[in-house]
């Protein structure tokens, strides 16, 4: 009897486990969502927000290597800036600036992965929109606006990749990853995506969205860069010029140059599209300009940011701001024979008088240099703001730097440095639009139109209300004027090009455009060889550039070797 009881208990016990086991082995994931939940208007919108959120290039998966402000790829590679700081910090930038990077360079792989993660987010939004349409949880009109935004973003991200590597794979929501390669010409697909974005209304209610105007400019940029289609771009730019910001407000030139870069004006009249940064928003600073967090002066307990002394201007770039007695740039590059004086090699205690020659006032909004007031931080005191002058020279970056009075309000608090700011990247600003327009005008032989647009910019720069002031007097001898209506340089297409190209350098310097501009103009190797030759003669030039030289292959970056390996050989190297 007893035994039977025990056996009965055992059998019951086994039976319980056996009968439960099927359900017992079904465990649903916690804390996540599946596609079904997201196929609604609200759900798609969050996916779209996710796609917008990589416009800055960074997330906790991708750091400053992927920054869409392109300070490394646009400006350091384009030689308006150098890596700055000391030679051992972020050593992977060293070969990028000395034109000797290999396909194994980690920066390139991070940039690649960031751009394509952004593309995959766009494709998720599109796929889920289509699903929602099938399920009729949204209307066709709602779907259109979602898809237009997602495609414009997808086009932009692909364009970013194209500017870096040219031979790129194009990924859409239907792509079979196992068949993807980079053999086809993808430019038309990029243009088609951006074209779709131009159908968006201008008033998107929120300043962080793409609208028709933004997309017209982006499309024009892509047409110019990829296809030299200046006539086509001209039409888009003319449309954009009469447009609005994404929140429906007006666009135009800000009255003075310097104010454009003040955080409070990040969404001011000048900016057509600003990549939105936010601080103290619970993201642990990842939304606060992480991509540029290294690019602040370097001084213990006193200077803005606190880290890490990267992104210093090159001497050649600083010299470019030299103006003639007539207040015009030295278009023959003779400025290098009268370089701007610096405090290189001096301690802060040693006496120093800043350069007394004629200068374009935009210099002192673009570059921090000794003796010149630096926002409201007082005068730049020289080598104590710089990590290692013997490696990278005497200059500091300035355009993204916040004001002392803004610390804590527009900067992240409680992290290892205070250089996370709300100073969003001015991805498309009105002056850029005018200069792109002028470029198209020159290429289509409307030199007078080009001059008018360029002069609008010079006139703004010449507004004395916008000079950096030392007390009541201008901080340096600012001499600047508009181009004359007759004679050089707008007497020939060739001369006009030189003027346009110089104007972009001066107006948009340190804003991430230079190397891409040079590539568009087809002068990368000659121009950078010229700059490099000069830059090697400055006291820090050998440490920085060694035996560097610019080759014909340096108009792209190599496709990351890891990506070629991962593609099982379907991706081919671009050089």
């Amino acid at each position: 009897m007893k035994k039977n009881k025990f056996l009965a208990i055992i059998l019951i016990a086994f039976g319980i486990i056996a009968s439960c086991s099927q359900d017992f082995l079904e465990v649903k994931p916690k804390g996540s969502l599946d596609e079904g939940v997201l196929a609604t208007e609200k759900g798609i919108n969050t996916l779209l927000i996710g796609a917008y959120s990589l416009l800055d290039g960074v997330s906790s998966q991708f750091g400053w290597e992927a920054a869409s402000s392109n300070w490394v790829y646009g400006d350091i590679r384009g030689m308006v800036g150098n890596k700055g700081t000391d030679s051992g910090d972020q050593p992977d930038i060293n070969p990028l600036q000395s034109f000797s990077e290999t396909s194994e360079n980690p920066y390139l792989n991070v940039k690649w992965r960031s751009v394509y993660e952004a593309v995959s987010r766009c494709n998720s939004a599109i796929a889920v929109t289509k699903k929602a349409l099938e399920q009729k949880t949204i209307t066709q009109a709602q779907a259109d606006v979602f898809i237009q935004q997602a495609r414009a973003l997808r086009g932009w991200y692909h364009f970013e990749a194209w500017r870096m590597w040219e031979k790129i794979p194009y990924v859409d929501e239907t792509t079979d990853q196992t068949k993807l390669d980079n053999k086809a010409d993808v430019r038309d697909k990029i243009l088609a995506d951006l074209q779709e974005g131009t159908k968006l209304p201008n008033d998107m209610k929120q300043v962080g969205r793409f609208n028709g105007t933004v997309c017209n400019v982006l499309l024009a940029k892509a047409k110019m860069q990829m296809k030299k289609d200046y006539a086509g771009a001209l039409a888009n730019l003319n449309t954009a010029k009469t447009g609005t910001k994404p929140d429906g407000s007006a666009i135009g030139l800000a009255p003075t140059y310097g104010e454009v870069f003040d955080i409070v004006n990040r969404n001011g009249i000048e900016t057509i599209y600003t990549v939105q940064y936010s601080v103290n928003d619970g993201s642990g600073a990842w939304n606060g300009g992480w991509g540029e967090v290294l690019n602040f002066p370097y001084k213990g307990g006193g200077s803005p940011g606190g880290c890490c002394g990267f992104f210093q201007a090159t001497q050649e770039f600083v010299n470019s701001f030299r103006t003639s007695t007539a207040g015009l740039p030295l278009l023959d590059n003779s400025y290098n024979t009268q370089p701007v004086k610096s405090d290189q090699g001096l301690t802060p205690a040693a006496p120093f008088t800043p350069d007394a020659g004629n200068l374009d006032p935009r210099l002192d909004w673009t570059v921090g240099r000794r003796g010149i007031p630096y926002w409201d931080w007082g005068k730049h005191t020289g080598s104590d703001w710089v990590r290692d002058q013997t490696y990278a020279g005497p200059y500091s970056p300035k355009k993204q730097v916040y004001k002392k009075s803004q610390e804590g309000q527009y900067t992240e608090v409680g992290n290892w440095t205070s250089g996370w700011t709300a100073n969003g990247y001015r991805m498309v600003r009105y002056a850029d639009l005018l200069l792109l327009l002028a470029e198209c005008q020159i290429e289509t032989n409307d030199l007078a139109g080009a001059r008018t647009n360029i002069n609008l910019i010079r006139k703004r720069a010449a507004n004395p209300a916008g000079f950096v002031m030392d007390g009541t007097a201008p901080a340096a001898k600012y001499v600047i004027s508009e181009y004359p209506t007759t004679g050089a340089p707008f007497d020939s297409q060739a001369n006009a090009r030189v003027a346009l190209r110089m104007e972009r350098k001066l107006e948009l310097g340190m804003e991430g455009h230079r190397w891409f501009d040079l590539n568009r103009w087809g002068i990368t190797q000659t121009e950078l060889t010229r700059v490099l030759t000069y830059e090697k003669t400055v006291p820090w030039g050998t440490n920085m550039y060694g035996t560097a030289s610019v080759g014909p292959e340096d108009i792209t970056f190599p496709i990351p070797q890891r990506q070629i390996d991962l593609s099982n050989g379907r991706l081919v190297q671009n050089r």
Binding site: L7, G300, C307
Partner: protein, 1045 residues
């Protein structure tokens, strides 16, 4: 809640069990005598027990014993491993001399294996048995570290940080992730035993091959370690063990590093080498013949200021006892240990209650095991840039004062520093960007972690008929904890923290397990069968956690520190574990014929929730055989051979540890750091956004280890020598790996797929020797473990993945045909001696005299005539060829001496510290004496240390190269202990049964060629052996005593 009620009842039951265990007393007398053997004379270490009780003693070195017996009816049992046990009724005798005969059938020891206990003689699998007395000689307070070198087949790597859990691998890593073995504690599976008090442990068995371990099927592939904890025996026993001592940090790396003046001299050398001039902000004009130091210059020994002698103390008190129908064991432990880094510690307080009842004429046993640990610790980052070891000695210039002592000298600093303030890199330019490691420790002294762990089980074991038992065991584990960490704002750094911030978190979680099994044993003449079968259900990964971080505190005051007092929320997260469930059926049959021929078969079937519908279940069979060759007639003439068994096994074990519980699902999610965007341009808020977070794979299935093992065990020369030798091969197939997807697929978590494979082969060897030479007792044992690891496949289409990162990228590569975590980079052939050599060499970016010349290993295609990534190669292997342990035991009269050595041979280390200190441009931190005195100059062109230069490029410090790779072999005297047992006649007057005192030195010396602080360096299986500021294992000096009543 129903469960709450059940637990209330269980608690009540346990309480009653403990109290009701009674004791038996009787009248006593003392028996003395000598135990000897015909061949060897007096025999020490023989166990003498009064039959049916726990009263017992052991013979001393001269074979003498003295024991108190209850009365004339008592029967004494004399036993010793390797000898035939004798039982002698006491009667009226008071002196009994005994002669023990050698037991030709040794190996009668009983070993705990999977779901059963077996005689060692009957075991056909590879099982390592660790003596708990041995491991306790290593005073670290956690079993994992103590297992180092104690049995073959185990590799243990740890570090010197208090409370850190060493990495334990059984027969090498079989998988890319999570090669931690499965621990079974009193029948309950767990992955963590760090909270179990070593003093509570009765037996430890290591199941190494499929023959032994596949009974644990799906979780066995990384090996299984079975622990049982102590039970009470008849009578009452009280023990108290304690030790106390301290750790001495030693001198650290200071002698290899520069003083403040030397550092300035090095700057002058760099100017000279680079041809640069400037007015140095600290040292004056570079044109001056010599640098001058500023007035505030210190000469800080950073290792010295961040370390201190660290006390440690352990107390263990146990009370155990029982009678025929019940027994209990209560253990209490206190372990307090400071780290050699100031303000670090690890304290733990443990308690255990084990009890068992026999009812229904002893046919039903019910019992429980329960243990509890409360711990608190304050640790530091290890093997990282933020570790004090890296931040202090290797990254801090000597010129920086750790604390300001004389404000009068504070001229020319960035702000007026006052006495008592911390010094730091922000005092002046060119001091680097590191933080003050001393200040970090002082500021963090009030931070901490607290945790509670519990493990327990209740069981019932019923004898259904003779030889047939049913057992059910229900148990689980539970943990919870909390931590908080306040970060002060700083004023002394070059990169200051502007506002204080604080993070705080708490977590809880657990597992449960229910096992039902039937064990059957029967002997029919020469045939003996032992079989078991069972069913188990298991759930783990249950739990939640909560983390918050805020910044902007009005005050740094200690009492003000909580999350509510911060101004700005930086982070607010919670995590909910997706649990994993398993159901399992298992069966095992052992059959032996004439006690000579043994066959064993095991089958396990597991179902797991992590796999999709079609792949939930896996089968894991194993077969093993043994032959007692030594018992065969044809070997009878071989007099020196006492025992010889050969055995072999083949089987499969499973693994699913790597796989996320969410692996089968395609998921979306989002968080502020990854996918939120400030779409309205507020500047201080962001809107929720989502992204694909996981790509699902419903087709993943079990990873399988196929293991083969051939071994033999022998006893030689009157059982003085013992040898156990195993050759094994462990092949992992369908290895679950989440191959990196191309960037174009997005960056959602990649799914685990069954693509890779791995091979481990090696030899395990254990040798023992014991003898008595006159009064001297000698006991020597050695273990030897060799592992040959090779990745045989990664995934279709690609052959490698790099793992880990650094300021110059990853330098470990996992590639087919190579051992895991091999170092990969450029091979340094030497330094360029002359400009002419640079010109004639293959093109190499940054090449110049005094910089590295790399080997041109690939000279084809685009790589022809130049050094490019194709010239990289495997430059080192962090996996040892073999590891070994050697235990020496001596006793003479009442003295005993124990020495234990552990060594690792043939492993390379990547000395990442060299990057910081051997290259001027690797940040403006501390530099090496080598760089100043032994580096390349035109007059020292044969140097091996590259030229001191401010150039950072491909030819200097921006790529991984063989320059950093060093031989990491070492031999360490882990412990040396000298004990003295007080004479029994002295102790009996104070009712003490046994009292032993000892002194001990730990880690007294380490023989190694490695130039860093400590060659024992752990790390992730995919990237380890990289010295980036390793918390060193240092000398300890201990006094202790063992007392029993």
């Amino acid at each position: 809640m129903r469960i709450t009620k059940v637990f209330q009842r269980i608690t009540l039951l346990l309480f009653v069990m403990v109290l009701s265990a009674g004791f038996v007393w009787a009248q006593e007398k003392t028996v003395t005598g000598v135990v000897s053997t015909p061949a060897e004379g007096p025999l020490p270490g023989v166990s003498i027990v009064v039959q049916g009780t726990t009263v017992g003693t052991i013979t001393d070195v001269s074979g003498k014993y003295s024991i108190r017996v209850p009365g004339p009816s008592a029967v004494l049992v004399y036993s010793s491993v390797g000898f035939i046990t004798q039982t002698i009724p006491v009667g009226s005798q008071t002196a009994i001399d005994v002669s023990l005969e050698p037991d030709v059938k040794a190996l009668s020891e009983v070993v705990v294996t999977g779901y059963s206990t077996q005689r060692k003689r009957d075991i056909t699998g590879a099982v390592g048995v660790v003596k708990t007395e041995d491991i306790k000689t290593v005073p670290v307070g956690n079993i994992t570290s103590q297992l180092q070198g104690r049995t073959s087949g185990i590799t243990v790597t740890g570090d010197g940080q208090p409370g850190s859990v060493a990495k334990l691998r059984i027969r090498g890593p079989g998988s890319f992730e999570n090669n931690n073995p499965l621990y079974i504690v009193d029948g309950i599976p767990t992955t963590d035993i760090s909270y179990i008090n070593p003093n509570d442990v009765e037996t430890i068995s290591v199941l190494k091959d499929a023959g032994a371990a596949s009974i644990y099927g799906s979780r066995a592939s990384a090996g299984v370690i079975v622990l049982t904890t102590k039970k009470g025996a008849k009578g009452v026993k009280v023990t108290y063990d304690m030790f106390t001592g301290f750790k001495a940090p030693g001198a650290g790396p200071t002698a290899d590093l520069l003083t403040a003046q030397e550092y300035a001299n090095l700057q002058w050398l760099v100017y000279k080498n680079d041809g640069t001039t400037e007015v140095h902000p600290l040292y004056g004009d570079s044109k001056n013949a010599k640098p001058t130091l500023p007035k505030w210059a210190a000469n800080t020994d950073w290792y010295d200021v961040i370390t201190d002698n660290a006390p440690m103390t352990n107390h263990d008190l146990t009370l155990s006892g029982g009678n025929e129908s019940a027994n209990f064991f209560i253990g209490l432990g206190v372990f307090q240990e400071d780290g050699i880094i100031i303000y670090t510690n690890n304290d733990k307080y443990t308690g255990r209650i084990n009890s068992e009842f026999k009812v229904l004429n002893n046919k039903l046993k019910i019992g429980e095991n329960f243990s509890f640990r409360y711990g608190s610790n304050r640790g530091v980052a290890n093997l990282s840039e933020d570790s004090p070891i890296q931040m202090g000695p290797y990254r801090s210039q000597s010129i920086v004062p750790h604390v300001i002592t004389a404000a009068s000298a504070m001229q020319g600093t960035s702000r007026p520093f006052v006495v008592g303030e911390f010094g730091g890199t922000g005092m002046a330019p060119r001091l680097g960007n590191n933080s003050n490691a001393y200040a970090n420790q002082v500021r963090g002294k009030d931070n901490g972690n607290y945790f509670i762990n519990m493990i327990g089980s209740i069981y019932a074991d019923v004898e259904l008929m003779k030889g047939l038992n049913f057992r059910t065991t229900l148990g689980g584990t539970w943990y919870n904890g909390a931590n908080y960490n306040f970060s002060n704002s700083t004023y002394e750094r070059s990169e200051n923290v502007g506002t204080p911030s604080m993070s705080e978190g708490s977590w809880y979680g657990g597992t449960w397990n229910w096992t039902n099994q039937v064990n059957w044993e029967k002997t029919f003449g020469d045939h003996k069968v032992a079989a078991l079968a069972g069913y188990a259900a298991n759930k783990y990964g249950i739990g939640r956690s909560l983390d918050g971080a805020v910044a902007g505190f009005f005050s740094d005051a200690l009492d003000y520190r909580n999350l509510s007092n911060g101004q700005t929320v930086q982070d607010a997260n919670s995590y909910v574990g997706t649990p994993v469930t398993l159901v399992s059926q298992f069966a095992k049959v052992d059959y032996s014929f004439m006690e000579k021929y043994i066959l064993s078969a095991t089958l396990r079937r597991d179902g797991s929730s992590v796999f999709g519908q079609d792949n939930k279940y896996g089968f894991f069979p194993a077969f093993a055989a043994g032959w007692h060759l030594g018992d065969e007639a044809f070997l009878d003439d071989v007099a020196w051979l006492d025992q010889l068994k050969i055995r072999g096994s083949w089987g499969q074990m499973g693994n699913q540890n790597a796989v996320s519980a969410e692996n089968a699902f395609f998921l979306y999610g989002g968080d502020a750091a990854n996918s939120f965007y400030d779409i309205s341009g507020t500047g201080n808020s962001s809107v929720q956004g989502f992204r694909p977070t996981r790509i699902g794979n419903p087709n993943a299935k079990w990873e399988t280890n196929e293991t083969m093992d051939i071994g033999f065990e022998a006893q030689l020369f009157n059982n003085k020598f013992g040898i156990v030798l195993d050759w094994y091969s462990k092949q992992t197939k369908d290895l679950l790996y989440n191959p990196e997807l191309p960037g174009t697929a997005g960056s959602a978590s990649q799914p685990y797929v069954n693509v890779a494979s791995m091979s481990n082969k090696g030899i395990d060897l254990e040798l023992t020797y014991r003898d008595n030479i006159g009064k001297l007792g000698l006991n020597i044992s050695g273990t030897f473990t060799s592992i040959n690891n090779e990745i045989t496949k990664i995934a279709e289409g690609f052959t490698y993945f790099d793992y880990g990162g650094s300021r110059i990228g990853a330098f470990t590569r996992n590639e087919e045909g190579q051992p895991m975590a091999s170092f990969y980079g450029y091979k340094v052939e030497g330094l360029f001696k002359t400009a002419a050599e640079v010109t004639s060499a293959p093109t190499q970016d940054g090449a110049e005299p005094g910089f590295f010349r790399y080997a041109n290993l690939d000279n084809t295609g685009a790589s022809k005539g130049k050094i490019d990534p194709k010239d990289r190669t495997f430059i080192g292997n962090p996996n040892p060829d073999f590891t070994y342990g050697l235990n020496l035991g001596l006793n003479y009269a009442n003295f005993d001496l124990n020495a234990f050595f552990y060594g690792s041979q043939g492993n390379d280390l990547f000395n990442w510290n060299k990057w910081w200190i051997d290259f001027w441009p690797s940040f403006q931190g501390q530099k090496s004496k080598d760089l100043l005195y032994n580096s390349w100059t035109t007059s020292n062109a044969n140097a091996t240390i590259p030229k001191a230069s401010n150039k950072s490029n491909f030819s200097t410090n921006t790529v991984a190269s063989s320059y950093y790779v060093e031989d990491g072999s070492f031999l360490r005297l882990k412990t040396l202990q000298l004990g003295y047992t007080l004479p029994a006649n002295l102790l009996s007057k104070i009712w003490v049964k046994n009292l032993r005192v000892y002194v001990q030195g730990v880690n007294l010396f380490t023989l190694t060629k490695y130039s860093g602080l400590d060659p024992e360096i752990s790390g992730d299986d995919r990237s380890h052996g990289i010295d980036s500021g390793n918390y060193p294992t240092v000398r300890q000096f201990i006094f202790g005593l063992n007392l029993s009543l």
